[in-house]
């Protein structure tokens, strides 16, 4: 290692390296200021608690406290459920839609636009639209169900329904977005393989299972990462629609961090929660890129 390094180094010209660093510097600066510095700071804060403006070193006590906190358990459970349901469903739906609108059909671009449309609307507008859809009695959904004589539950007011309602909304929003990635992926697939499969007499399902899906795996992995992190990044909708209620039934990790930091002003606890979120997302990314990545053919 020590011997090979200088030789490798000699392979580059100093000038080239400097140029590369100069070009990378802006991104590095932004990354340092807005990502690395806050991460270190949060880690530091997570060991302190503040009472009456005094900072006390609390060590791991604060972690212990958070890990035993009932609300934290509930929030985490909600978030895991949300991820487990919305990630596979929205990816599957996106793939289905992509394959569908990739084929030759009439009004194709109109359908594509319709599927992609939710991605274009601002988050806050989406939340307000769905708030109206879910309004009890005179909301769109209840009016529709009323045609069949069904009385809808309080979609956002009942603990058993609120998370489901949020999931439906999230899937509606995300599927169209992921569809675009799959569509791009589909269009770059080699046509020869399909022709060969055609000759061998493979049906459409077989073609999908043996060719399309495996060849799309790099896209799927990418989408998987985005979908998973998105499901942990939900704040705006909660803020508008439920504030995490009723009784924390729709509260999610990032919103909980927000309220701990900026409603309760408990920076120590919020930092602990942030560290936990960071570790979780890191673990997921490592799993995806370190484990799944090796099982994918590029």
């Amino acid at each position: 290692m020590t011997r090979s390094w200088p030789r490798r180094f000699r392979g580059y010209r100093l000038k080239d390296n400097l140029l590369a660093y100069a070009l990378l510097f802006p991104s590095l600066l932004l990354l340092a200021v807005f990502t690395f510095y806050p991460m270190v700071k949060v880690l530091d804060w997570s060991f302190y608690e503040t009472v009456l403006k005094e900072r006390h070193f609390a060590g791991l006590d604060q972690y212990k406290h958070v890990l035993q906190d009932e609300v934290f358990h509930k929030v985490l459970r909600n978030n895991v459920w949300l991820a487990l349901v919305t990630v596979p469903v929205s990816i599957w739906l996106a793939l289905y839609m992509a394959v569908w609108v990739n084929g030759k059909l009439r009004g194709r671009s109109l359908i594509r636009a319709a599927f992609f449309y939710p991605t274009l609307i601002p988050m806050i507008a989406i939340a307000n639209i769905w708030l109206f859809i879910y309004t009890p009695d005179y909301g769109l959904l209840d009016k529709f169900l009323g045609l069949f004589g069904i009385q809808g539950p309080g979609w956002l007011g009942e603990p058993g329904w609120v998370l489901v309602s949020m999931m439906v909304m999230l899937i509606w929003k995300e599927a169209g977005y992921f569809m675009i990635f799959f569509l791009a992926g589909l269009q770059s697939l080699p046509q020869e393989v399909y022709q060969a499969a055609q000759m061998d007499g493979a049906g459409p399902l077989r073609k999908f299972r043996a060719i399309t899906f495996p060849l799309l795996m790099p896209t799927t992995l990418f989408v998987l990462v985005i979908a998973t992190t998105n499901s942990f990044k939900l704040v705006d909708h909660l803020y508008i629609m439920t504030k995490g209620g009723p009784n924390n039934a729709s509260n999610l990790l990032l919103y909980h961090i927000y309220e701990t930091a900026f409603s309760f002003w408990d920076m120590g606890k919020a930092s602990v929660l942030t560290v936990i979120l960071l570790v979780m997302l890191l673990a997921v990314s490592i799993f995806y890129y370190g484990f799944l990545d090796k099982r994918i053919h590029y």
Binding site: K15, L18, L19, A22, L23, F25, P26, V51, L52, K53, V71, T135, P136, D137, G149, Q151, G154, G157, E158, P159, K243, G245, P246, N247, N248, E259, F262, S263, F264, W265, D266
Partner: protein
């Protein structure tokens, strides 16, 4: 090497552009505009404010009730500027109460506090904990403070020190639809006076359609955001408040509070005169205005909106009594921040005095529906004639003698939230009222124990 130097040059350019832009931006936000504005005015004529330095105050305020509050505030600021040409108040609309608090507190921690702000009266201890507030006791006469209703003043104080001035204060009142009372065979001039009547009237006012689903509810008490406030009203009516006077102790598990929460949950789950589950704070007034419910508990802050939008005759009454009448106060106070220059503090105090003159309090109350904060305001011709034509406006004032301070503690956000959550879970039937309150007490004690000495 050429490329490298090019990149570096572009970089330097970018950096300088950014920094000068930043400076311009900062100056644009603050003094330069004010002084330009000011010098323009001075050169135009009068020149009467020659030796006074122009001062600009930033004033954060929230909007929490219906109506064009922003334009009222802008007008107040403009009027003040007319009277005091050297002071410009720049109102900054900052969202809900919660958003305004977030904004103010973030600014304080970033070292550029606003000069004054309207924040919930209950944020007192959170702000004290940040060491953000200027004490107001020495800045006003005792007589000045005595002009305010006692129940409003109690949320401005910690012990004997006064830290804020009552501004857009409210209390809970009962709104009822007189037309629906007539239809149900009730006397439209007689609101329910006690809990038994409330239950009885509400059940008469609950109407089911042919399919068996309820088309009109008897009563709605909101249960998001401020359910602790509603429960506090019911507890006060049962004879007990839920908090002490220096923010360190709560009494969530008293028998009176249990009785109150039992009543609150029973209305929906047992008596079926109120929708079961969670009722949105903001949709309850819409439900009332659109005729979905015959009565509602809500803040008097919505009075002007209901007056403007209701197409039917409606009444406003005291909240029904259990053992006595009772309601907590609510709403926002004016706070002055600590880390600003003395002359701006003095200017802020001047602005507060201006806002709390009787005429202005009266006009503000008429425009918004908030309760007039001083007795003097109700003695002005303006408010007298308004109350004569619209007697509903006097109810909140009359109820003031039964009013009490609102729940406000150290770590107020956290204490309120846990209490709110537990109340909701009782309303949803996940816990009994007894369990919900015992749990709340224990959780709150856990948080507050470090503030007790």
């Amino acid at each position: 090497m050429k490329k490298l130097s090019l990149v570096i040059m572009v970089w330097m350019l970018l950096l300088t552009a950014c920094s000068s832009g930043g400076q311009q931006g900062a100056a644009g936000n603050g003094n330069s505009v004010a002084s330009a504005d000011q010098s323009g005015k001075e050169s135009q004529g009068s020149g009467n404010a020659e030796d006074e330095q122009p001062i600009e105050l930033s004033f954060y305020f929230p909007v929490a009730v219906g109506g064009p509050i922003t334009s009222f505030i802008d007008k107040l600021a403009a009027d003040f500027h007319q009277e005091n040409p050297s002071i410009t108040v720049k109102p900054v609309y900052a969202g809900s109460y919660q958003d305004t608090m977030t904004k103010a507190a973030t600014a304080v921690q970033g070292g550029n506090a606003p000069d004054l702000a309207v924040l919930l009266s209950t944020e007192l201890y959170s702000l004290l904990e940040m060491d953000a507030l200027e004490e107001l006791t020495p800045r006003f006469s005792e007589e000045y403070f005595n002009g305010f209703y006692e129940a409003f003043m109690s949320n401005t104080k910690s012990g004997d020190q006064v830290w804020s001035v009552p501004f857009q204060r409210s209390t809970i009142v009962l709104y009822y639809n007189k037309d629906m009372f007539k239809e149900a065979g009730l006397d439209p001039e007689k609101a329910p006076a006690n809990w038994d009547e409330l239950r009885e009237f509400a059940s008469k006012l609950t109407v089911k359609d042919s399919s068996g689903s309820v088309s009109q509810w008897g009563l709605e008490i909101p249960s998001t955001g401020y359910q602790y406030w509603m429960l506090q009203a019911l507890s006060l009516q049962s004879g007990s408040n839920i908090v002490n006077n220096n923010g360190t102790e709560v009494y969530f598990n008293k028998p009176e509070v249990k009785e109150a929460l039992q009543f609150y949950t029973d209305l929906g789950r047992k008596d079926k005169v109120m929708p079961e589950g969670v009722l949105e704070w903001a949709t309850v007034p819409s439900d009332f205005i659109s005729g979905k419910t015959a009565m509602m508990f809500h803040t008097t802050g919505n009075l002007s909106k209901v007056k403007a939008d209701a197409t039917f005759d409606f009444g406003v009454a005291y909240l029904p009594a259990n053992k006595s009448y009772g309601s907590p106060t609510g709403g926002g106070n004016l706070y002055v921040f600590k880390d600003i220059p003395e002359e701006r503090k003095a200017a802020a105090v001047k602005f507060i005095e201006f806002l709390t003159q009787p005429e202005r309090v009266a006009q503000w109350s008429i425009d918004t529906g908030y309760v007039g904060t001083t007795e003097a305001a109700y003695e002005t011709e303006l408010l007298k004639s308004y109350v004569a034509g619209f007697p509903q406006a006097a109810v909140a004032r009359d109820q003031m003698k039964y009013a009490s301070s609102e729940l406000s503690t150290y770590q107020n956000g956290q204490v309120t939230k846990l209490f709110n959550d537990n109340i909701q879970s009782a309303l949803l039937g996940e816990m009994t009222p007894e369990e919900a309150l015992e749990k709340s007490q224990q959780q709150a004690d856990d948080i507050l124990k470090k503030y007790r000495k």
